[in-house]
């Protein structure tokens, strides 16, 4: 087993997948194409990455309050991340996840980590998320850093 990070389960759930991480906040409106799951904010370090089914790590959302609606569309379209890890409790992500639960019984697990733990996350790692907010990083030694935020 790899390193275990103890986070706060904002919306509890289970997930596992490839980590895609950046220290740069993102607006999903204008930043996330729910048809493809691609990050399309050309100013963002993760621009061009497809994150459907991945464990997406972003400190928080930025800008437009339409982020929630875009993430809900992604849930319906099957292009949402498997889980989202943040530093702050991000209420935009939380709402999308709660409405996805109310509408489709399909919440996105959300975990808030402290900044030090968040900084351990690098693109290319694999991770599992459990309902109690534990994030287990697998193969941390061999993980290659593909994209890392500023």
């Amino acid at each position: 087993m790899g390193r275990v990070l103890i986070g706060k389960p904002v919306v509890p759930g289970e997930a596992q997948g490839l980590v895609v991480a950046s220290g740069e906040p993102l607006s999903f409106w204008g930043g996330y194409d729910y048809h493809s799951g691609e990050i399309i904010d050309r100013r963002h370090p993760l621009s061009g990455q497809r994150v459907a089914g991945c464990i997406l790590a972003l400190p928080f959302t930025r800008g437009s309050s339409t982020t929630t609606a875009v993430l809900l569309e992604a849930v319906k379209a099957g292009t949402a991340p498997a889980a989202i890890l943040t530093t702050l409790v991000d209420t935009f992500f939380a709402l999308a996840s709660i409405v996805a639960d109310e509408m489709y019984q399909s919440p996105i697990p959300l975990v808030a980590l402290d900044e030090l733990d968040f900084s351990c996350l690098h693109s290319g790692m694999r991770a599992t998320v459990t309902p109690d907010g534990l994030v287990t990083l697998l193969e941390p030694e061999s993980a290659s850093v593909i994209v890392q935020g500023k």
Binding site: V10, V11, P25, S27, W29, G30, G31, Y34, I40, D41, R42, R43, S47, F60, T61, R62, G63, S64, S65, T66, T67, T68, A69, V70, L72, E73, V75, K76, A77, L88, V89, T91, F92, A94, L95, A96, I98, V99, E102, M103
Partner: protein
């Protein structure tokens, strides 16, 4: 801390006010727990951003609420929708898309909301007052209501805004509470010439920079010696809410909760102090353009929606001129503001110039631009920020005067000498 619900809240949750209110309250309550709220509080107004047609799920949500008989219980304005209800056929909007976007408009209207269809509800008769508790969506509207009007709203995301309007209740957290409205960062303008501060273009550029610096903190801007207009503050806020998550800013001596530095910080110490010098603003100005090329297909004005004052300012610039045949000139506004502008005689000059007005929506909310439009010019930092990613266009950012001059010449022309050191 546990969430204490009132008897009224519990009666909604129990379904005594109907199934739509029950669903809405369930979402409000779960969000209150995420926010860590101890209670809910009453609101007396709402602004709904969920009107923008994003896709099937948002439409399904709206139609489910409407189908369950949802009614808003406070005066509720509507943000831009996905199409100009009566003018979308003039543009490249696909008819099947328009049909769905229109169904979404009807769903929200059917809940008793006011069909304002504007992202600048603070420039309508439903403008909130100082201290009023409201639940607003739309980032530029949120930052304006909090900062310039002193009304109190959190950053309500799409889908939650309508739930608050249906229940009349919001989690008692964040910017609803006085203690959370104190400044956190001190941003000092240092040696910024007054002549530059008096230019309209100064405000979106400053806002872009402030948003990048502040992110989700509350900045206090000090050292502004000019008295900005309502539209200048609107441009500043929209820019700061695009490049950052700014929901409230204070400007010492300008905004209502900042008569002095001490009051703006509620007598606390700033967490950080950042000085802004002219070269930083020049850098921010450059960032707002995605290209140096001078090709031009369209000049686009009006994000946030053009006000009557902006129509009045634009009209004389267009007198006796005509837009270049290869360029389109478009202003996005609300139907009410366009009507006022028409009655004030400001639209004739725009029509004679060869320009158009689109209402109810904007180029970011509606798939209205044909693919041949690849190069935009704007004076809006919000359009400049979002267009490259959302529309896959290049953007040149300039002043209103630059936009008009460029539209006539058929290529991008920018006057930048005002940004040079004096």
């Amino acid at each position: 801390m546990d969430l204490n619900l009132s008897a009224y809240d519990r009666s909604i949750l129990a379904g005594e006010h109907g199934p739509a209110a029950q669903l809405a309250m369930n979402i409000v309550m779960r969000m209150a727990q995420v926010y860590g709220a101890e209670e809910l509080l009453d609101i007396s107004g709402a602004h709904i951003d969920s009107t923008i047609y994003i896709g099937e799920a948002g439409l399904e949500f709206a139609e489910r609420l409407a189908g369950l008989g949802a009614r808003v219980v406070v005066p509720t304005t509507l943000n831009v929708s996905g199409l100009d209800e009566h003018g979308w056929q003039d543009w490249a909007v696909p008819p099947d898309w328009a049909e769905k976007a229109h169904r979404q408009m009807l769903a929200y209207q059917g809940m008793g909301c006011i069909p304002t269809w504007t992202c600048a509800p603070y420039q309508t008769e439903w403008k909130p007052s100082f201290g009023q508790q409201i639940a607003w969506g739309e980032s530029n509207a949120i930052v304006f209501a909090n900062s310039v009007l002193g009304a109190r709203t959190e950053r309500y995301p799409d889908l939650l805004d309508i739930c608050c309007a249906i229940t009349g209740r919001v989690p008692a957290v964040g910017l609803h509470l006085t203690k959370n409205r104190a400044g956190q960062l001190l941003i000092r303008l240092v040696d910024i010439p007054l002549e530059l501060q008096q230019e309209d273009i100064f405000y979106p550029v400053l806002g872009h920079l402030v948003g990048k610096i502040a992110q989700d903190n509350i900045p206090v801007i000090a050292g502004l010696t000019a008295q900005p207009s309502e539209d200048q503050l609107k441009a500043l806020g929209a820019a700061a809410a695009s490049s950052g998550a700014v929901a409230l800013f204070h400007i010492v001596g300008v905004t209502p909760e900042a008569p002095s530095l001490g009051v703006a910080f509620q007598d606390r110490q700033p967490e950080r102090t950042i000085d802004i010098h002219l070269p930083m603003l020049r850098q921010a100005l450059q960032e707002l353009s995605s290209t140096d090329r001078d090709t031009l297909h369209m000049v686009i004005l009006g994000s946030p929606h053009f006000s009557l004052a902006e129509f009045r300012q634009l009209a004389p610039l267009l007198e006796g001129k005509h837009v270049h045949p290869d360029v389109q000139f478009l202003v996005t506004s609300s139907r009410a503001m366009a009507l006022l502008a028409k009655q004030a005689g400001c639209l004739q000059a725009l029509e004679d110039f060869g320009g158009k007005v689109t209402v109810d929506t904007c180029i970011l909310a509606s798939p209205m631009l044909p693919p041949s439009v690849g190069m935009l010019m704007t004076n809006s930092a919000k359009y400049a920020y979002y267009a490259p990613g959302m529309l896959n266009t290049q953007v040149a950012f300039g002043s209103l005067e630059d936009c008009v001059r460029s539209a006539v010449a058929g290529r991008v022309i920018r006057e930048t000498s005002r940004w040079d050191a004096y």
